[in-house]
Amino acid sequence: MKRTLAVLIENKPGALARIVGLFHQRGYNIDSLNVAPVFDESYSRMTVTTQGNENVVEQITKQINKLIDVIKVSDLTEGSHHEVEYVLLKISTKQFNQTFKRKLKYFEHHIIEQDNSIVVLGVMGNSASIDDFLKSLNKKSLIELSRSGCIGMHKSEKHLTI
């Protein structure tokens, strides 16, 4: 089962490598990873998606928490939460047709660049529906693709801050 973990981590050199290394070292997989400093630059927030049953994810959470640079970890999947991913898509203008546009309309999106040959789009949505959307496209129509990886947050009153 897919799990989404949010991690607050000291913004120190090597801190990210410790997390990534831990996944490899303990035999877990990272499906997607997003990290950037938040608030005061002294710490970063990371969203990691992974697979595993409850026991595996509990173990991953504990092992991450054990890293000295990690301030807090939370399994967002445990409760209700928001998840979103942003995708940059480059396609040929020819492919930017009605069929394509019909599929697009289920997502928040905008055109970033457009000329006679190329269209660059920004598309936002949850990771699963983005997966479906991308699968539905003709692979040949995609020139380039970049995904931010999932970012997530607890719903309403539950917070993950320091």
């Binding site: 090597g14 490598a17 831990l22 173990q59 054990k66 000295i68």
Partner: protein, 569 residues
């Protein structure tokens, strides 16, 4: 140097080299800290490890960059697996050369990352005091472990002038080890223990590391239930107590493993359900409720699900449990306990270890390795510090040397590092110069760090080395005998072993060779009378001997054991 002195460091184990020379020069100019020059950096980490395990203080290592750092890796991994506090300072090439493949450059932080509790690279010289302070704090608190400080050479340039500054108290927002257990969980644990009929206390290395042996004994004065120790926990419970079942696990006693398998309650204290204990996890103790006390939450429910998890320091948690039990109105069913104990004694009678093998002299036969350990036990009144290497000899010591004090048994349990014993003994001997320190080893292991015999001469460390010599990599050979139809692939030396007596003499020490059982006690007596000399006792033993009991694997449970060659119980 000042930062290290302020942490109370007495010894540094190390080996100099280019990137560490500024630090070595500072060492030369002071008198508070003694540097022990080893002959290989692996020896430095193991020696610091032995010092740390025996004293409970952090051991300190200083090595240079590149090969100095990589040679320290095995020792770091050894300490990491057994939760030993070390601070390892590695020199690094100058900051501006990092990443350019310069001479003796290696990414120490990267290489050591999976086997350290934490690591630092120094970016500003003025950070050194604070980093050293934090490193010692992290290494020694919570679940202890090794910490690396990688210092680029320019950070120790003697021409740098800065104000020596560090915080009065340590506050790391991302590191707050838990000390006191949750009172609700303690209540549940007390209730479970007092309501059980077939309980076992399974006490591990956490009791030793957490200095909680006294508390464990006090707890069992109250509840009087059987106690077994892991390899790392030996010495934390008095071996002569009739409730003590000896070691459990792969080569644990029959009664300890049977008790675990048949228990209705297992109280795990500072133990981690290692695969050498549980055998097949799915078949582990099918009827037992598990209470698990550990300072590391990640150790709980990692392999065996804990019904009642308790996160806290072992000492504080056991004290809280004692208090709760004293308060509780539930009385443990002593009749059921008596019955349980007689069942355990029956198991012991059937296949228990024979601690009296030494009394029976086998004339004209090769010495039994078990007898060597039993003779050693009697020669030292069970009071020596024993370090060991890895293999059959290690298991024989664990089975037959009845450790009656915590910390006296120093061995590499988690990583199983051959070559650990001799350098570890150096660290112990430096910490306790007046006590008898014995390294029990095998002819395979001892050759992995034999160069440290030279260090022992330089610093006058009169360790006694007992080499249980079966002319083969015994444990490997045992597996090959049992599982690979006696194909001894690469486990024998074909008459290429050195003459250890002459080797010891070449290093300036004394060597004895023993081939007859009747000479053993005499030689031990003579060796221990040579107070100021290192004595290497090379004992030739029966090479066909195996370690039993042995858990049947794969797909076995804890009740499935070989109790002798060709005899399953």
């Amino acid at each position: 140097m000042r930062a290290l002195r302020e942490e109370g460091v007495k010894y540094i184990f190390g080996y100099p080299g280019g990137a560490a020379l500024h630090i070595y020069d500072a060492l030369f100019k002071q008198k508070h800290i003694e540097h022990i020059l080893v002959r290989h950096e692996q020896g430095a980490t193991h020696a610091a490890d032995g010092y740390a395990r025996s004293t409970g203080k952090a051991g300190v290592v200083l090595v240079t960059s590149g090969p100095g750092a990589t040679n320290a890796i095995t020792g770091l991994a050894t300490a990491f697996m057994d939760s030993v506090p070390l601070v390892v300072i590695s020199g690094q090439v100058q900051s501006h050369l990092i990443g350019t493949d310069s001479f003796q450059e290696t990414d120490m932080i990267g290489i050591s990352r999976p086997i350290v509790k934490h690591s630092y690279i120094i970016n500003k010289a003025e950070d050194i005091p604070k980093v050293v302070q934090e490193a010692f704090y992290i290494a020694t608190t919570g679940r202890p472990g090794p910490v690396v400080i990688d210092i680029p050479k320019d950070m120790t340039d003697p021409n740098l002038k800065f104000e020596y500054k560090k915080p009065k108290s340590i506050n790391i927002r991302s590191y707050k080890p838990k000390i006191d257990p949750h009172p609700g969980q303690i209540k549940k644990a007390a209730r479970a223990l007092l309501s059980s009929e077939r309980p076992v206390i399974y006490a591990g290395g956490g009791v030793v590391l957490g200095n909680a042996s006294k508390e464990l004994i006090a707890l069992n004065k109250l509840v009087k239930v059987p106690v077994t120790n892991t390899l790392m926990g030996l010495g934390s419970y008095p071996p002569k107590d009739k409730l003590f079942l000896g070691m459990l696990g792969m080569h644990g006693t029959y009664e300890a493993n049977m008790a675990m398998h048949n228990a209705d309650l297992i109280l795990a204290i500072g133990a981690r359900f290692d695969d050498r204990i549980t055998n097949t996890p799915a078949l582990f103790a099918p009827n037992a409720k598990v209470v698990h006390i550990d300072v590391d939450p990640a150790s709980i429910s990692k392999i065996i699900n804990a019904d009642i998890p308790i996160v806290g320091q072992v000492k504080e948690s056991v004290l809280a449990l004692i208090k709760e039990i004293k308060k509780s109105k539930i009385k443990i069913d002593s009749e059921a306990l008596d019955q349980w104990m007689s069942q355990i004694y029956e198991w012991k009678r059937l296949h228990g270890l024979n601690h009296d093998l030494w009394k029976h002299v086998r004339k004209n036969q090769k010495i039994l390795p078990q007898v060597v350990v039993q003779e050693l036990y009697h020669a030292t009144n069970g009071d020596a510090w024993i370090t060991s290497d890895v293999g059959q000899h290690q298991m024989f010591v664990a089975q037959y040397y009845k450790f009656n004090k915590p910390r006296r048994w120093v061995n590499s349990g988690g990583l199983g590092t051959m070559g650990f014993g001799l350098p570890a003994a150096m660290g112990v001997k430096l910490a306790f110069p007046k006590d008898e320190v014995v390294c029990v080893t095998g002819e395979g292991s001892i050759q992995m760090c034999i160069q440290e015999l030279s260090t022992c001469l330089q610093y006058g460390l009169p360790i006694k080395i007992v080499n249980i010599n079966n002319e083969a990599l015994g444990m490997v050979k045992q597996w090959q005998d049992m599982i690979y139809n006696k194909r001894h692939s690469a486990s024998t030396y074909q008459n290429s072993l050195p003459d250890f007596v002459r080797l010891a003499e070449a290093y300036g020490h004394i060597g004895f060779k023993v081939t007859k059982q009747e000479d053993l006690s005499k030689v031990f007596k003579k060796a221990f009378s040579l107070k100021n000399r290192l004595v290497f006792i090379d004992v030739y033993v029966d090479p066909s001997e195996h370690v039993y009991p042995m858990l049947v694997a794969p797909n076995g449970s804890m009740k499935d054991m070989w109790v002798a060659k060709d005899k399953k119980a």
